[in-house]
Symmetry: C2
Subunit: 227 residues, 2 copies
DNA sequence: CTCCATAATTATCACTTGATCACTTTATAC
DNA sequence: GTATAAAGTGATCAAGTGATAATTATGGAG
């Protein structure tokens, strides 16, 4: 705040005094500008354009990053990490609240943090560029969110609290998560006119998930009664 | 057939006779090679590499396409059109078959045609590059597949055959389609180890859709009874 | 005020890329 | 055979790219 963004010189034109920033601050600014630029034009975007946005010369980037790939990886980290809230796990574990409500709140927060052009575009671009980072992220989602959903749902239905998660259960959970992510894609990448709000999409997705998961558990319970 | 693929000279090295192809054939070959190359490395891939794959010099491409963008658009068209089967509509309309079965078959075919790295990567890359083409495609899906699903399902439940499609119904249908597409993404772009088959994913997705849609329709029917 | 570590710049290189044009080779019609 | 339309090549350009090295300017410590 209070500081005009890097670029503009105070007043006159000629001297254009160069302002120094701490290494820490500069790294942060560069990654931020790089993320914005790459999100817009892809990772093919030039280092010169990034420097231009910062009002800085291009070789300066190489003072803080070994090469373009290094910068891109820093962008990965920033984009993925700064949009992940560590508090989510606590919220999802709070059994004083119905599972449905817990996950509805979670997905509202998740959408608020991630359903924007910058995050979605970089996430999909990263998946296309090198799947590794996205593999890691999907693993995170599966372990921390989807398996949690399955287990907490089971507990609420009075089933035994087993760590084992069935393929079919995971399939349902991924169907939910994938469907919502695709909503984000249509909305913020394709920029299609939204015929429903995010809240509705989340609510509808959860309805589908809980309705069917319950059916399946009920049927399983009947089967075990018969045995 | 019987013709060794363009590249290799018949036998010896020195003369490397240049083979001529009809313009039509050459255009087809170029687009095919371009699609393969772009699918692998992104639309930043070079025209020289495409030419190399064909065993041809790079300027030749400019005989058949005005510029790189023109080539990319031709790739769009080929990839999208050649993987769309016009017969699908007939299959989806055949009321002698249960809706569930019709759409299960459709999604099997759809996955067979589209769930491969080339199609998925180019489709997502196209969405990131310029949303327009993907907007058009999503419109196609919505009009020809999803609305069909909704209406045929209604008919099977004995409801009136109205052309009007509710926002909520569409939301469910997109949740289904998006979830399945995301399965393709995880499977063929991220190359994650599949813990379920495509068939299972489709079957589970449809289970979720039909279970909930039926619930909603039943509830709507009760409400109208009360009025 | 002076010093000096270091933030930032200037100049530049080697290379790739999309694109153009004049030229050569091929197949086909006569 | 020979003429000819068109398929294909070679040489080359201008622009833009990531990256390096030498140089300059800044601001805090003493």
């Amino acid at each position: 705040m209070a500081e005009a963004d890097s670029k503009s010189p105070p007043k006159g034109a000629p001297p254009t005094k160069r302002r120094r920033k701490s290494a820490e601050q500069r790294v942060h600014d560069i990654v931020e500008a790089a993320a914005d630029h790459f999100a817009e034009v892809g990772f093919g975007g030039s280092t010169r354009e990034i420097a231009k946005r910062l009002g800085v010369t291009q070789p300066l980037l190489y003072r803080y990053f070994p090469d373009k790939d290094g910068l891109i990886e820093a962008v990965y980290r920033t984009v993925y990490l700064e949009s992940w809230n560590p508090d989510w796990d606590a919220g999802l574990s709070d059994r004083s609240v119905p599972v449905r409500d817990r996950f509805e709140k979670f997905y509202h927060d998740y959408a608020k943090a991630n359903f924007n052009p910058r995050w979605l575009r970089i996430a999909y671009m990263a998946g296309l560029r090198d799947a590794e980072i996205n593999e890691w992220y999907n693993h995170l989602i599966e372990e921390l969110i989807l398996k949690k959903l399955i287990q907490e749902h089971r507990v609420e239905l009075g089933m035994e609290d087993s760590a084992f998660v069935d393929t079919k259960e995971l399939s349902f959970a991924w169907q939910l998560h994938g469907g919502l992510l695709h909503f984000g894609w249509r909305h913020h990448v394709l920029e299609l006119a939204p015929c429903e709000t995010v809240e509705d999409a989340i609510s509808n997705g959860l309805d589908m998930y809980f309705a069917l998961a319950k059916n399946v558990y009920d049927r399983a319970a009947q089967n075990s009664d018969m045995s």
